[in-house]
Amino acid sequence: MSFPILTAIMLAPVVGLLLILVIPEREQLTIKITAAAATSVSLVLAILAYVLYNKGQGGLQFLQDIPWVPAFGINYSVGVDGMSLPLVLLTAIVIFTGVFASWDMTKRVKEFFIFLLMLVTGVFGVFISRDLFFFYLFFEVAVIPMYLLIGIWGSTRKEYAAMKLTLYLLVGSAFALIGIIATFLYAAQHLGQATFDIQTLATVKYDLGFQKMAFFLMLIGFGVLVPIWPLHLWSPDGHVAAPTAVSMLHAGVLMKLGAYGLIRAGVFLFPEGARYWAPLIAVLCIVNVVYGAMIAMVQKDLKFVIGYSSVSHMGYVLLGIAALNTLSLNGAVAQMFAHGIMTALFFALVGNVYHKAHTREIARFGGLAHQMPRVAAGFLIGGLASLGLPGLNNYVAEFLIFMGSFTRDQALLGGLLSFRILSILAISGIVITATYILRVVKNTFFGPRKPEWDHLEDAHGVEMVPVVVLIATLLLFGLLPSLQIDVINSGITPIVAKIEAAKAIGGIF
C-alpha cells in the first residue's frame, strides 16, 4: 500500500506534541522550533497532496482503510475529495502560520504548543475522515484543548468566553451525534450491515420524514459551529478572548468544520431534507450577513470587528449551501478557504499590534501606518479581501456564491418572496462590509501620527511569515482561481448529482 499521506498529515502534529512533552519547559525556542517543524511537515504534505490530487478523476483519493470496531462497522478510513482537500490545505497553512504568529509567546509555552498541536490534530482528522464516527470523534477532540487554550492564554473575559465556546460547541455537537447515530441505525436496517462510511450511507434511500428530522439535527449541530444566527454568540466572544494563534485556527478553520459537516453529513446524505430546510437557512444567512456586518460596524475592539465580520462572511457560506446548486456550493467551499486565510491574516496582524500596544481599542489608535507600515499594508490587503476585491481569493468565492444563489429562482411563501430577493439582500452585504472594514482601516492606521505609539516597531523577521504566506495564498487563488475551483468542483459534482436526483420538494416555507 502506498504512503498514507493523509494519516501522516494528521500525525505530524502528534509527533511534534510527543517530542515537546519531553523537552524541558525552559527550552522555549526548541519547543517553538519543534512545533514549527511539525506543522511545516503537515504543510508540505498537504501541498503535495493538493498537487498530486487527480482532478480529472475526482472523487475520494489517498484512501486508507483500517477496520476499527467491526461490531459497529466503524473503520478508520481516510480520504480526501475536492471538497475536503482545500480545507486540509487551509488547516495546514493556518496552523503553520499560527505557530509563527505565536512566536512571541512566553507564558507556559510548553503546554501551549502541546494543546495547540492536539487541537490541530483533531481538525485535520475531521477533514480527512470518511467515517462518520471518526469524523465526530476528531471534532470533539478539538474542543477541550480549545477550552484550555482560551482559558489559560486568553485575554478579555477569557474564562467566561472559553466556557461559553465549549458549551455551545458541545451542545451543538450533541445534536449532530444524535443525528449520526440515527442515520447509522436507519442505514444499518436498510443495508443489512452496520457502517459509518459516508459514501455507503449516502447510497441509502432515507424516507422524507427521517430526512427532515436528521437534517435538522445536523443543521443545529453543525450550524452552531458555522455559526448560524442566533447560535453565533460564542464566536465573537471566543475570538476576542483567544490568543492569536487560537483565534486564527478558530475563525480560520474551526468554523469551517461546521459548514463542511453541514454539506458532508447534511446535504450529501439528506438532499431532500436539505431542500426542505434550505429557505430557513437562506433567511438566517441574511441575518448573519447583514446583521453581523452592521454590528461589526459599531464595535470598539479590533478583534470584535473581525469576530463579527466572520459571522457575516460565514453567512455567505450558508447562502451558498442554501442555494444548493453547483455554482453556489463551489462558492461556499471556496469561501470557507478564502475566509479562513483572510481572517487568519487579520488575527495575526491584530495579535501583532495587541502584543506590542497592549490594547485593541480602535479609538486609541490612529495613524499607525506611520509606525507600522507593513502591518497597515497587510491589514489593508486583508480588508480588501474581506470586502471582496477582485484579484483576491474571496472575490472568486463570493462571486460564485452570488451567481449560484442568484440563478436559483424559487418562489417562497407562495410567491410572496423569491429566493432571488433573499440573495439580493445577502449580496447587499458587500456594501456594509466595505464600509466597516475601511472605516476600521482609516481609524486605526490612517490620520495624523500619534507620538504615544512611536515605541511600536513594525512587524519584522519571523512575524512577517504569516503575513507573507497568507497574502500570497490570497493572491495566488485570487488571480488563478481555476487552480482552486477545478479541485472543488470535482468534489461538488457528486453532491449536486444527489441533490438533483432527490425529488423536488417544497421548502419549509
Binding site: P70, E140, V141, Y147, E159, T166, A174, F175, I181, L185
Partner: protein
Amino acid sequence: MAALSLLTIEILTAVLGLALLAIGLLVPRTDRRGIGYVATAGLAGLLIVAFGMRDVSGVVLGGYVIDPFGTYFKILFLAAAILTAVCSFDYVERMGLNQGEYYALLVLATLGMMILASAGELISLYLGLELMTITFCILVAFHLSDARSAEAGLKYILLGAMSSAILLYGLSLAYGASGSTVIKQIGQVVAASGASPALILGTIFLLAGFAFKVTAVPFHMWSPDVYEGAPTPVTGFLSVASKAAGFAALVRVFFGALPDLHSFWVQLFMALAILTMVLGNLVAIPQTNIKRLLAYSSISQAGYLLLGVVSYSVLGIGAIMYYAMLYVFGNMGAFMAATAFYNNEGSDEIKDYAGLARRSPLVAAVMLFSMLSLAGIPPMAGFVGKFYLFTAIISRGYIWLAILAILMSMVSVYYYLMVARAMYLGNPPAGSQPVRVAPGLQVAMVVSLLVLFFLGIYPTPLTNYALNSAMTFFMP
C-alpha cells in the same frame, strides 16, 4: 466436585479475605504496610484467575450461575478492588488503624459483589447483597477519628437496612407468586401463568431495592452524604463497584425472571433514568467538595447506565457492561487523584485545587482526563461507552431520551470543567510545593489513564468481550 471448581474465584477470594484478617492480627503494627501489598498482589492473582475463567459457564447447586456475564463483572470488581487497595496504602496509614481489617473487609466486600453478580437464586442474591452492604458500611465508618465518617456509616447502615427490607419484601412476594426462589423458574412460571398483582407489587419493591443500590433518583439520597463522609478510597470503590454489582444483579433478576413484564418495568426504569440524569447533573453544579461533586456525578452516571436497561436489548446490556468497566477506571482515576491530593493537602475542597497543574501535572492530568471520560468526551473511553448506550436507546426509538441524556452530559462537562478551571487556569497558592505522590499510586493512576485512552481510541477488544458476554447471557 466439578461444581466446586466453578467456584474457584469465590473460594479464593474468601480465603484471601480471611487470610488478610489473620495476617493483620499476626504481624506487628510496625510493618503492617505490607498487608496492603499482599492484598493487592492477591487480588491481582485473582484477577488473572478470573480472566482465565472468562468463558467458563455452569450452574452450581441449581442456584448459583457461573457465566461469562458474571465473570465479566467479577473481573470488573477485582480491577476496582485492586485500584482501591493501591489507592489506600497511604490513606489507611494516615487513619492509623488495623490495616488488616481494612483490606480484609475490602476483599470480603468484593466477595459479596461476586456472589451478587452470579446469584441465580434469591437467597444467595440476598446474602451477597448483605455481605456487600455490611462490609461496606464498616468501611465507610472506618475513619473512626472522623465523626463525619461515623455519621456516613450510620446513615448507610440504617438506610441500607431499610432498602434491603423493601427488597426482601419484594423477594418474598416474588417467591410467593411463583413458588420458587430460582430466578429461571420464576421466569418460567411468569411466562406460563402471567403476572399476578402480587408479582407486580413485588417487582416494584425489587426495583426500589436495586434502585437504592445503584443510586437511582429518588432512591439516591443516601449516596452524597455517605460518599462525602467515607474515606476517599472507599468512596471510590463504593461508587464504582457496588453500583456495578447492583446493575449485575438487577439485570439478572429483571431480564432473567421478569422478561415478560418488561413492558411494565421498562417505563419505570425510564422514569428513574430521566430523574437520575437530570437531578444528578444539576445538583452536581453547585458542589464545592470534590468528593460530593463526584458523588453526584456518579449518581448521574447511574442514570446513563439505566438507559441500557431501558433499551432492553443485548446491545443495551453490552453497553452497560462496557460502560461499567471503563467507569471503574474513570471514576477510580478521579478518586485516586483526589486521594493523592488529600494525602498532601488534607483537603477535598475544589478551590484548594487551584493551580494543581503547575504543582503536579500528573495528578491534574489524571483528574482532567478521568473527568473528561466521565463526561464522554473523545478520545476518552467514556465517549465510546455513551455512544453505545445512546445507540442502544435510539435503536429503540427513544431519540428524545437520547437528546436529553446527551444534553445532560454536556451539563456535566460544565462542572467537570469547573474543576479543570481550578487546576489549570488558577494559580497555585504562594509557597506551595509540588504534590508528591507515592510511586504505587502514580503507577495506578498512569495505568488507569492509559486504559482510558486505549479503550477510547481502540475500544474493539473490550467491546467484543462485553457484547459476547451479553450475548451468552441472553442465549445461554
